[in-house]
């Protein structure tokens, strides 16, 4: 327990240091994207790694958060903070309604349903131009503000993004080490055995789905108020796939895996810009090799090494 908070503190300090050292707004952007991705991936880790329910549609929840925030602030002049809160609420309700029938599905059928929902979402935001600006997206989304302090630069928003990222790590940590977390792991192992110990399996699956959708929504709102401009391609299934790759890369059934996975993959994809035409080839190759040889992810691999050393 103490170790967790100490590590968290170290990360906070490192990020603060980096933020003062880095002058380039490009690098600050990367650091911020890592934080945002961490928020989504930690939710996915809870859903996939701990509860064993795969979702290939989380980019849609990220999008619902971003678009709700954008629409509420640009069309209705709602205060950005309230918009963000409403966005989380809206996402939660949508996830709940979708989750009840969807999470009854298993395996490939669950993958297909979540993927299909993501595709439906993508098409709707492109086509429903009146509200979403269609393919052009929405511009002029206001910055978040506290009093007269406006989060209007890469550096300022960094504190906010990382605050939420660390907060979501704490949320995940608390949940995993609780009655609910144990129940989720149990139903991942065996739904029948879990239900025979009094765990309401379908209720828990839906609830964790809602929680992970809400986390994605928070990241979406932060993104909208950060870059002040959103467009549909950010929230397509390619991003959903990338999110799961981050989750697997770091280690699905670990908390730190979310941070490591989003960190590594965000940096790798930015680095790949240097090899231009070869970027997708290299990305694909890295993925295949990592999954072939360290399928438990980076953090999972390190933990395993530790256990082996103890033996």
């Amino acid at each position: 327990m103490k170790k967790f908070y100490i590590t968290l503190l170290i990360i906070a300090v490192v990020v603060l240091l980096l933020s003062t050292l880095i002058k380039s707004s490009y690098f600050l952007l990367i650091l911020n994207l890592i934080a945002l991705n961490t928020i989504i991936v930690i939710g996915l880790n809870l859903l996939i790694g701990f509860a064993g329910q795969i979702s290939l549609g989380h980019a849609a929840f990220y999008g619902i958060g971003a678009y709700s925030s954008a629409i509420l602030t640009t069309f209705y002049n709602v205060n950005p903070w309230i918009a963000m809160l409403l966005a989380v609420f809206i996402t939660g309700i949508i996830a709940y309604i979708i989750g009840i029938p969807t999470l009854k599905l298993k395996g490939h059928y669950l993958v297909m349903a979540t993927l299909g929902l993501n595709i439906i979402f993508s098409i709707i935001i492109v086509q429903w131009e009146v509200f979403t600006g269609g393919p052009d997206g929405i511009a002029g989304i206001p910055y978040l503000q506290i009093g007269s302090f406006s989060f209007d630069s890469d550096k300022k928003i960094l504190y906010l993004c990382w605050f939420f990222a660390l907060l979501s790590l704490i949320v995940a940590y608390n949940l995993v080490h609780s009655r609910v977390g144990r129940a989720l792991m149990a139903l991942h192992n065996s739904e029948i055995a879990a239900s025979c110990l009094g765990i309401n399996v379908s209720k828990y699956k839906v609830k964790i789905f809602v929680l992970s959708a809400m986390l994605a929504s928070i990241a979406g709102s932060l993104y909208a108020h950060y870059v002040t401009f959103i467009s549909p391609e950010t929230f397509g299934i390619m991003f959903s796939i990338k999110l799961i790759i981050m989750s697997i890369f770091g280690g699905m059934s670990t908390i730190w895996g979310a941070l490591v996975g989003s960190g590594c993959l965000t940096i790798i994809s930015e680095l790949l810009n240097f090899v231009k035409d070869y970027s997708t080839i290299v990305l694909g190759l890295i993925l295949v090799l990592v999954l072939m040889f360290i399928p438990q992810g980076v953090v999972g691999y390190i933990t395993q090494l530790k256990i082996n050393n103890e033996k």
Binding site: M112, I120, I123, I192, T280, G284, L287, V288, L291
Partner: protein, 291 residues
């Protein structure tokens, strides 16, 4: 009324393509339990290799097409041998994401080789539209439907009349029993990828004269094929055919009668509703968990 027939005809065309792709997914699933996203690349490479052989190497169709199909089948088999078989984890999710990684790799490779411009292959036999009642159909549509029907019949014969085909069904039905009678499961898995490659490539080639082909054409087609397989009941050949045709019809009727912008929405909404009602697809069997 006139239009409906037209929509049905184009629905059957795309539907047959989806069905071929869906069967490819199902065959590999039955042998391994995974969703092979590389199927998308089989489609792309089928079309693009034919472009290379036909347009650039000036081979006639009857050489270019079989050659492309053989190349893709070899590529599929090698992918199984080199990548899938050597994966440390046999976890389904990991294997699926390995196929996604490989798909990203091959898509990048295709972009490097062929660039991002779409290519048009000429139709197999002229472009003169044929009138059927009061709808028109271009000959390539007939080629697509005809080749699909022949392929399905051949596959059916393969699965029901040859011992290897029966062995493949046996592996899908009961792996342990298949092992007991002396079937080499690895060989069947390999074969399933070769067949998957064959079907993907074929689909990619015969649709190319209608829709053009490019380095990323396989992604959307593959996705639809997967959707069709799920809709019909994953792993079942009959299901794949029904799912494919149904999806093709839904899309074209949806696009024609309701809204072309929302045709994919309509198709996917129906798909999702179907699996909500019947969680194992139209022809899929619900499995009873044993404790």
């Amino acid at each position: 009324m006139k239009n409906i027939l037209q929509f049905i005809l184009s629905g059957l065309t795309t539907g047959s393509i989806y069905a071929l792709i869906a069967i490819g997914f199902s065959v590999i699933h039955n042998a391994t339990g995974i969703v092979n996203i590389m199927q998308c690349e089989f489609i792309t490479y089928g079309g693009m290799l034919t472009v290379t052989f036909y347009i650039f190497s000036k081979f006639p169709y009857f050489i270019a097409i079989p050659l492309s199909i053989i190349c893709v089948s070899i590529m599929a088999g090698l992918f199984e041998r080199v990548v899938i078989r050597n994966s440390k984890s046999k976890d389904i999710i990991i294997l699926i994401f390995i196929t996604i990684g490989a798909s990203i790799f091959f898509k990048g490779l295709a972009l490097l080789i062929w660039g991002s411009d779409p290519f048009m292959l000429p139709p197999f036999s002229g472009n003169q539209p044929i009138k059927i009642f009061n709808a028109v159909i271009i000959p390539q549509n007939l080629w697509v439907i005809g080749i699909s029907i022949i392929t399905v019949i051949l596959l059916h014969l393969f699965f029901h009349k040859t011992i290897t085909g029966k062995a493949m069904r046996a592996v899908a039905n009961n792996k342990k029993a298949a092992q007991i009678v002396g079937i080499n499961i690895n060989r069947i898995v390999f074969l399933s990828f070769v067949i998957g490659g064959f079907l993907g490539a074929l689909a990619g080639i015969i649709i190319a004269p209608i829709t053009t082909t490019s380095y990323d054409v396989g992604f959307m087609l593959g996705l639809k094929g997967f959707a069709a397989a799920i809709l019909g009941g994953y792993g079942s050949m009959g299901g794949s055919i029904i799912g494919g045709i149904l999806l093709g019809l839904l899309e074209n009727l949806g696009a024609g009668l309701i809204s072309s912008e929302y045709k994919d929405v309509i198709a996917f909404v129906v798909l999702i509703l179907v699996i909500y009602v019947k969680p194992s697809g139209i022809l899929g069997l619900a499995k009873v968990e044993r404790v």
